[in-house]
Amino acid sequence: MDDTAIRTTGLTKRYGDVVAVEDLDLAVPSGSVYGFLGPNGAGKTTTIEMLTTLLVPTSGTATVAGHDVADRDAVKPHVGYLPDEPPLYDGFSAREQLAYVAELHGLDPDAVADRIETLLGRVGLTDDADRLVDTYSQGMRQKVGLVQAVLHDPAVVFLDEPTNGLDPRAAREVVDLIDGLAAEGTTVFLSTHILSVVEEIADTVGVLHDGHLVAEGAVESLRRRAADGSERTLEQAFLEITDGEAIPAAEDAPR
């Protein structure tokens, strides 16, 4: 396995005449955090589903952790996935849910118990973990979903809008956990449209628009890419890139 955790070549998904993702070329280095930006409907979730083998590409190839995504059995031990709605069972407590999923991953129940407690502690759920998840707030569900996605210590984690609907404190805990994962060497593929999160933790940012990768680079370089070379916020850069028209920098904007 080389140092590239995710590599796609000409990855394309069409639904009839509708193009969801077209000709996507990505190379995400191992251990990095890749911020996958794009407006609603840009094709972010479609891309993630193709990379997690849940959706078959129309054309093109992709490897995750060195394995072709066409081979689901080879890929799945190496990936964790948190969809935009955290998948949890009503009727389970958080601890039950996590222990259950851990066993489905083939982990030894005793060995994984400590890891579950550690992760629960890092997102501040230790005290609530015996309550049924039916009674959780959106933020708590999101955090359990995140712990569930990384339980089996996968090499690559796909997170679809992990801070969606979270209050600032919960968002902070989630971002810290993601940061910690990256520090431990996990590759994080983070799809979001919350720019501050990306600005803080992403090593590289890709901007997807109408199924096409329209910009890619370090956060700094994206900011600096304005036509006149002046400094912009990431928001300005994002709006400009996904709109195709230059957005005046804040200080120049008419009041």
Binding site: E49, T52, T53, L54, L55, V56, R72, K76, P77, V79, G80, Y81, P83, E85, P86, P87, L88, Y89, D90, G91, F92, S93, A94, R95, E96, A99, Y100, V101, E103, L104, H105, G106, P109, A129, D130, R131, L132, D134, T135, Q148, H152
Partner: protein, 766 residues
Amino acid sequence: MNVDRVRAIARAERRRDRHRYAASRRQRALLALAAVVFLPVVGLLLLGAYRLGQGVAGGDTAVRQLARWYLPGSALLFVFLGALNAGRRLLNFAAEPLLLTAVPTRELVYGLLVADATSWVLGLVGPAVVLVAAFAVGAGSPVALVAGVLALGLLSVACLLTGIAVGLAARVLLRRVPLSPSTRSVLGTVGTVGGALMAGGAGALIGAGGADAQDLGLDALAPTGPPPVPLGYYADWLLVGTPLFEGVTPAAVGSLAVVALAVPLAVGAIHRLLPSLWYADPALPTPEGEAATGGRGRSWGRHRTRTGLVVAGLFRRAVRTPLRYAHVAYYLIVVGLLVVGGVTNPEVLVLMTGGALVLLGVWLAGGLFGLNPVGEEGAMLDQLVLSATPAATFVRARIVAGVVVGAPLVAVGTGLTVVGGLAPTDGLLVGALCLALTPVSAAAALGLGTLYPGTEPGTVLDTAETVPPETVAVVAHAGLTGAFAVLGVVGLVTDPGLGVRVFLLGTVGVGAVLLGDGGYRYAVAGVRDYGRERAPDPVFALELGAGLALVGLVAANSVSLAALAFLPLSGTPGFVLAFVGAYAGYAAVVATYVYGSGRGWRWLGLRWPDAGDLRVLGVGLAASFGVYAALVGAVTVVGLPVAQHSLGRDVAAGGPGVALVLVALSVLVVGPVEELLFRGVVQRRLAETVPESTAVGLAALVFALAHLPVYATAGPVAVAVSLGTLVVLGAVWGWVYARTGSVVPAALCHGCYNGALFGVAYVALL
């Protein structure tokens, strides 16, 4: 009031109905096939209505008496149905927040009611109108048709609206009781089941009132004199235009007034009740703690297998969130009605209770955990697919969980039937059969639930927000497994004669294996290949082919039976009718599969033959006759026994005319339809999973076995010889199909071969 807005709301709701219940081509296909299979029942009903009309025209006053007695009870049933479904639309409509804030309440109420009434009319009144028409034709009176449709339409709309009003009132009352929402929901479900059973029990008691069960003469069913409920005189309006109409009597006018008045009264009540449910405070008095139950989590303990873990998970969730299984209420109502049917006779009651428990066990084995595996997992499916646990584990766990629920019910039920008077050996046989059916039921439910997944969140008896199984899956599963249980029990316990017994048990056995294993494979593939194309599974393809042949056999018998029973033809025209009817049944199965699977007609391979095809056809014909010559040689030289095709007896009985007709039918009907089924569908489908030559052989085997019933009366060796010949012939025609890629040459080859044999018979008989 803005009528356009009312109509717009009704239209939007109707569109949602269509989307929900008929959007899937698989559902439409299954419904069409069910209509074909149940053709004899439909015919029987129509014939009954027609005969009733004839009786009425002849002045049979018993009809009037019966109608007056039983109309109020039937009306009550409609009211109950209305009450049951009151919340289905009125408390769960599209764009609720928008409509509640933007549309005047009155218009919204009317719009929703119009939508409800429309689906009601289409679903229940429509078929009833057809029956009224048959009745009017029998009575020979066009006035009866118009009067019957009007009277029936008014009555059913009045019952529906009254039912809705009653149902809403019950919900309003239930809300006043200070209970937690989940307790209230459970109470609502239990109340619904209880209400249905009480109504059924009351019906049984009334039916038995004053009558021995043995003596169901008219006097017992409907004694002369005025009906017990004066509303029964409404039945007179259904008889307008017939000699039985007694004229506009005060009683008839009074009952009409009651029914007609019920409409505005019910609408008024609904209009008053609905807003209090719509705008009610959703945070109903919730006892402290329910929302914050602490310490409920437990560890998973030790499970020797991962299947055990998943089973434990299923049960734990079922116990904690029982309302997700509210659809079990439907099963309870049906089997409960069986029990209350015996309420008047203690001895029968025990037997009936036992039988009902057995049926409940067979149904729940699949009905509880099996009918919506994909929809129930919901978003968790992604996680399961990406976990290290094989897909089969999840399917097996649901089978195990289903058997754990169903098997004890079957065992207890069987015990009760023995207590109730069933001979112990018979009880043992029934118990063994139904125990064996529990895993079949579970696997079949999983297959059907994967084929027809319920993904839309909805409500069952509007008690619980959940993702209920698709109605189609529930009905198909209950129908198939119930039929297996009943046919199997009839085959085991009654004495229908050896031939019929073998046929019944054989059908149940083969059907159970095909449905059980096929369902299991389909369900496993549904998880394993989630999000991608299904991996080819030759065994499933074979089971599918054999299953289609079996369903074809049933459909063929149904259509042919219906045609013979209900069309006034006999002799050769009757024979031709039954024959073509049977093949129409087979053709219906072909059409259902091609349409339902979305493969399209092109997939069948229908192409006009070119010169190359004709050469292949020539070779095929030569080979076919070669096979026949070899058979004749073997029979005459070696003295091999051979079974006679049942058509041979028809020819012997009907003479040369029938033989000549069969020549034409062979070419025009038998060849095309059988080749479409066995080559166009079965072989083609197999060839998607195995090499062409293997597909040819397997399809030929299915083709030969499907002919077993027509040889059923012969000895085993003779049957083997005949079937062996058919395997070879099927392989020849399969080769023609594989070689040309078109059904047409194979159909010509098959048709000409059969036709030639009947031609020889014709010449011999001259």
